[in-house]
Amino acid sequence: MGMIEVKHLSKYYPPPRRGTFGFTDMIKDFRRPREILPALVDINFDVEEGEIFGLLGPNGAGKTTFCKIMNALVIPTSGHIYIDGYESIRDHEKITRRMVTIFGGEREMWGLFAWRVSIERNLRYIAELWKVPSHLINKRIEYALRILDLEGKRNEWYQKLSAGMKQKVHLALAFIVQPKIIVLDEPTIRLDVPSKRRVHEAIKKELCGDLGSTVLLTTHDMSEAEKLCDRVAILNTKIEFIDKPENIKELSKEYEIMELRLKEINPEIKKELDPFVLRIEEIQENEVCKVKIFFEDKEKNLPEILGVLRNFTVEDIRIRTPSLEDAFIYIINRGEKDVH
């Protein structure tokens, strides 16, 4: 039995009403047929005890809805999530003793912390909210402060900390409560490189290694998923792919990536390349125009692509092996290309 089991989970939301600009609009809006919006469609997967499982997906893929269903904040349309054998909606109270969710968005966690109170007092309050036994509270606060390099900040007001520091304080919740399951939503989104490295180490070594917690990580950061996760699922309303990070990268060996730097992006270039490529992505960085070309069958298509490029001013060309991020984009957009 997995620590987290997801069985045929679907969630359809009633659509939000459109913005109305006057009485006629409002009447029209009320009379509009109420179609439904799929947020999650037939999701199935298991997370084993002690595993770090990554949930990757673009914005609007359903990651937040999934976390909210785990915390009984949203009732699914059908299906269930079982957490340590308990059903997420029915047994919410039992689950709260076994699971902690740390939202990475700065604003999401603000309410839990008092702004004009020291970090140490805030952490004590958190420990008491999560009903940590009194005799363990001091020990765990010290442990969390040490692991997250926050010892020097213990007497500072929460409001005086930088966004990155605040995020570390939010993470301390996991080390203080020490639950069986930890849900981390973008845990390092605002951290600098050394802090990020320290947090990754703490998740891998302390949370999963020493404390034996199971971690469900939602992230956009592919390198983070690659570094931390034992398995990842790519979610885009439905599960697109689920495997070890290295196997997802393996999938992307089916194609190549060419990166071009151009003086300006000519619409013609896309049109002429289209028969030989899987997908073209335009990236505008400062004043530099970049184009990322995904293509397969290198021997056949590469000469054709180079032939097309001869007619345009290209400043730089680079062919590289796809990263996990490229694999993620490829998988997410696979459906779109199939339509072509």
Binding site: T96, F103, G111, L129
Partner: protein, 269 residues
């Protein structure tokens, strides 16, 4: 069960401590609150001495305007603790976080309001103390007052439960029930003058407003020293209304809470 109750009380105590830390971190805020109460009492006392009402206020057990006015201010302050105690928490962004803790829903609502309740009690009794000490107001605290306060508070809480359910179902950015209560509480409920002095077309609203009855019973018990037995014949209808409203408010809250979890709007601002 006792262990569970003890752990919930411990959580409420944590909420109180945090409320206190936050509150006393703003030193000028604390001082200015006490100063404003002192100024309020001064103004009310002078106002009460200057004003003569052409109305029978003795029927409320308060022959002097000072007690008539001070008691209404005091009881309004206390029973209005219930207003916003559920709907305000539910609309706040913090609710989603608190719901993920192992605390019971009732502990979350009591805890999140605990500091506000304690502070409101402290300031209200400080207000009454000043009125008695400076202007020699004659105030009584008997069992009748306790029952009036509790039933008034529960009625406001019931209306707030209804408002909470209503706002999370309709996703309304304003809360029409508490807005109406707040707007009309001092105007039509007889805080400044008896409702008999209102124009005839406003009197039905006064009779519908719960604050009217809270003011009346509070004046009779606190000002006229009427016992519970003396006010009971009239008070029981008010208590019955409170019990019915509590049932309706609770049902609306449960319905709204479930609807919000289906539409995914719980904890949305």
């Amino acid at each position: 069960m006792f262990t569970e109750l003890r752990s919930e009380i411990r959580v409420i105590y944590s909420f109180i401590k945090m409320g206190g830390y936050t509150f006393f971190s703003q030193r000028w805020g604390v001082i200015s609150q006490f100063l404003s109460i002192a100024v309020n009492v001064g103004v009310i006392g002078i106002f009460a001495k200057l004003v003569t009402l052409n109305a029978d206020i003795a029927q409320y057990g308060t022959p002097r305007f000072l007690e008539f006015f001070v008691i209404a201010m005091f009881i309004t302050n206390l029973v209005f603790i219930g207003t916003g105690s559920v709907s305000g928490i539910l609309r706040g962004a913090n609710f989603a976080n608190l719901y993920t803790t192992p605390c019971k829903l009732i502990t979350i609502f009591i805890g999140a309001n605990s500091w506000r309740i304690i502070w409101r009690f402290l300031t209200s009794f400080f207000f009454i103390f000043l009125a008695v000490a400076v202007f020699n107001a004659r105030i009584y605290f008997n069992s009748g007052f306790v029952v009036v306060f509790i039933s008034g508070f529960i009625l406001m809480l019931a209306l707030d439960l209804f408002a909470a359910g209503f706002t999370i179902v309709t996703k309304a950015s304003t809360d029409p029930i508490n807005w109406f209560l707040g707007l009309t509480s001092q105007l039509v409920s007889g805080t400044y003058f008896p409702i008999e002095n209102l124009p005839s077309w406003l009197r039905p609203i006064a009779h519908l407003h719960p604050q009217t009855y809270v003011n009346k019973f509070a004046r009779l018990t606190m000002g006229g020293n009427a016992t519970l037995t003396e006010v009971w014949p009239e008070l029981r209808a008010f208590i019955l209304t409170t019990v019915i409203m509590l049932g309706i408010g609770y049902a609306m809250f449960i319905y709204g809470f479930k609807r919000a979890r289906i539409s995914g709007t719980l904890g949305h601002r």
